[in-house]
Every structure is written in C-alpha cells, then in structure tokens.
Assembly symmetry: C2
Homo-oligomer: 228 residues x 2
C-alpha cells in the first residue's frame, strides 16, 4: 500500500521504518525537505539527524508535505499535535479527500515543561479538530497511548496490553486495524472506542502516561484494560 507518514521525528521514523520493512511503499513528508536534510545535530530527544537516519533507511523517501499527501493512500499524522492541522493543510485537503488519516499525534503543550499540558482537551480533541478541518478525509485516532517502539512492535511488552481506535468511518477503522495487525497487534488487543470523539479519552490519558513515565523512569510500558 502507498503510505505517507507526516513528521520526521521519533514516531514518524518508527512507523515509516516498520511499514517499509513490511513491504509498503512509504514516504515521509516534511515542511521543507532541504532544511530537514541540512540538520546536523541530534533533536531534543537525542535522535540522530534525519539525513543520517535516511542513509540507514534508503527505501523510505523524504518528500514535501504536498508530495506526501499526493502519494499516500493512507496518511499517518506523526507531526507535533500543535502543528498537525497546518501540516495536513500543506499536504493538501484535495489530496486527503476520501483518504484514511491515521492520527497518532498528541496535542502537547510544553510551555510548562514536563509532564506536558494538552493544547486541547476535555471538550475537544486533536482527532476531532483534524476531522472537522478535513471533513472529506476519514480520520482514525490510534496508537497515541504508548512509546513509538511499542506502537509498531507490541510484542516487546510482555503479556496482554491494548491499543485503541476511534473514528467515524468503519472502513477506515478496518484499514487501520489491518495495519495494526501487520504491526503485530492481536485482534483482541484492539479496543474500538466508537466515533472520533473517543480521541478525547486516549489523548487525555497521555497526562497519566507522562506522569507514570516520570515516576517509573521509563516509557517502556503500555496500558492494559484488565477485565473481570
């Protein structure tokens, strides 16, 4: 499948790498290709410059947001949540019409440091904002409740743990569930939260995720819903 991943950070790289390894035709979209390739310093999370990552992952092509929007049958939003709508606008509303947008982003507001605030919460969510901004696209919120490494390889966390999907379009959710299955998520681990409003639940959970992470000193965990 032709898939575009928007965002050159840790999450975008992990998803693009995994999808490419699985045999998909993957591009990563960025605002300014030359600027992204010109970076020579690790990012604030210590990830190597993109050009260095690119050398190790030649099958994944770096393109503009617009070219990414044209390429992807599925468009994965892995940009920072506060710039996601702008990135998707650059990808092109016409390009996105009818397509699945897999939104894995969190609308983190770092103005008070860690744990982050949310730029939108409670009465709205990033997933809903994106669906409203691109009414002809079919937005599915998923994977935004865990570390990038776990998103694309759930078997690295032992035992039963969960991933959520939320979105208005059943076919789009089926497409995303199929990708989750390729990543290694068992069917019974996928909890369908209904419409895109379910994004509020998974985005607001991130406050607990970051607080737990600070106390445990690791992001290497995932949430499980344990039933009676």
């Amino acid at each position: 499948m032709k898939i575009a991943v928007l965002g050159t950070g840790m999450v975008g790289r992990a998803i693009a790498d995994r999808l490419s390894t699985l045999g998909h035709d993957v591009v990563i979209g960025t605002r300014d290709v030359q600027e992204t390739l010109a970076r020579t310093e690790p990012d604030w999370l210590g990830n190597v410059p993109f050009a260095q990552w690119q050398q190790a992952h030649p099958a994944v092509r770096l393109v503009s947001f617009s070219d990414a929007g044209a390429h992807g049958e599925v468009v994965v939003n892995a940009t920072p949540g506060t710039v996601s709508v702008a990135a998707l606008e650059a990808a092109g509303a016409a390009n996105l019409a009818g397509k699945v947008i897999l939104d894995v982003a969190l609308p983190l507001d770092m103005s008070e440091g860690m744990p982050p605030l949310l730029a939108v919460a409670n009465t709205d969510s990033l997933g809903e904002q994106i669906q409203r901004a691109f009414p002809e696209a079919r937005v599915v919120k998923s994977l935004n409740t865990m570390l990038a490494d776990t998103m694309v390889d759930p078997s690295r966390i032992p035992g039963q743990h969960n991933v959520f999907v939320a979105g208005e379009d059943a076919d789009a959710k089926a497409t995303v569930k199929s990708l989750l299955s390729e990543f290694g998520w068992p069917d019974e681990a996928i909890i369908d939260l209904g419409g895109i409003r379910g994004a509020r639940g998974t985005e607001m959970y991130s406050r607990l995720l970051f607080t737990v992470s600070a106390e445990l000193g690791t992001y290497d965990f995932n949430l499980a819903i344990v039933r009676k």
Copy 2:
C-alpha cells in the same frame, strides 16, 4: 482507626462497608442526615435508598459532615467532585487540619451526558483544588480510576492491575498505602505519582475509563501498567 467517609453514594457506601468490616470505626457524613434517611427511591444509578443500606450495615453511623469531620482521623472524600470542596468546608477546615484527606472523587460534569466532561482538567485538578482549599490537611488522591467494588476488593479483577497515589505528604501517602494494603492491594500494584499534581493524570484518565466502559458495556475492569 476512626475514619469518616463523606458521601452516601455507591462509592462512599462501598468504602465505608469495607473499612467497617476490616474493624475500623467508620461514620458516613452527609449534608442533611434527616433528608438522606427520608429518601425512599433508588438513586439514579439504581442503588437502594440509604436508610435501607443502613439497616444492613448497622456498624456504620450516618452523621453530619461536621460530625464526620470531627470523628475521622482519616477523611475519605467520596462526594461528587463538583461539590467536594463545599462538603469538606461543611466538615470543617479546623476539623481537617493535620488530617489525611483520601480524595477518591472525580470532578464529573454531566451537562453533556455520558461520557462526562471534567469540571476541571489539564491545568488543574480536583485533588489540587482540595489541597489549596485546605492547606493544613494532607490530601492524597487515590482509587479514582476504577469501579467502587474494585477499589475495596482488587482481587475481583484477575492478574496484575494498578492503583495510583498522589500527594505532597509522605506520611499521609503511607497511611493511604496501608489502607490500600488492607483492601488487598499488593505493594507492587501501587504506583506513587509524586505530588498532588499527579491527580491530573488519574482524573483525566477517567475520560478513557468512561469511553472504554461504554464500548465494553461494563465497568468491571481496571487499568494495568504493563512494563517491558
């Protein structure tokens, strides 16, 4: 230990019953004792009228908020979150000074129906509001991430799952952890989130809890943090 539980609903009853069975000297506090006892209809969740519950639990005495505040060495806030500060004011700031307030409430705003909004979130939390309103009390947020039955009997959910504590005072958290231990929570299931600001994480998780509950058709689950 002398314990006061504020709130006559499902959560207050479950905690009072369990603490009383464990041998504690337990009162339940309410705004108006006569009014609470005069109710003859089940509440909106289908719980029997308090007078009927009282007959089956004679060791738990119903008293005013003020008498409850005077009685409890530990005061459990199990009132609706939007009236919790008022209930604690009725219990008396002087009564609460120096005492442990175990806050298990959620600041649910039902104005849009289910799943509820939060009356406070993201930049503040109910736990923090209570600590600010009663600076001489020692507030510990805990147990607000699950069904009342699970709070007081974690063994009803199989396997590993978690409960959180957040608060500024280490001795107060030790007192709460001791009560959690009496309820049956293993030490390794208790995750300390640091200061009372950690309440934001557990309160904001409630949006996911209510959304998952609606999709699964049950509250009979709990969250587990599964580590690598």
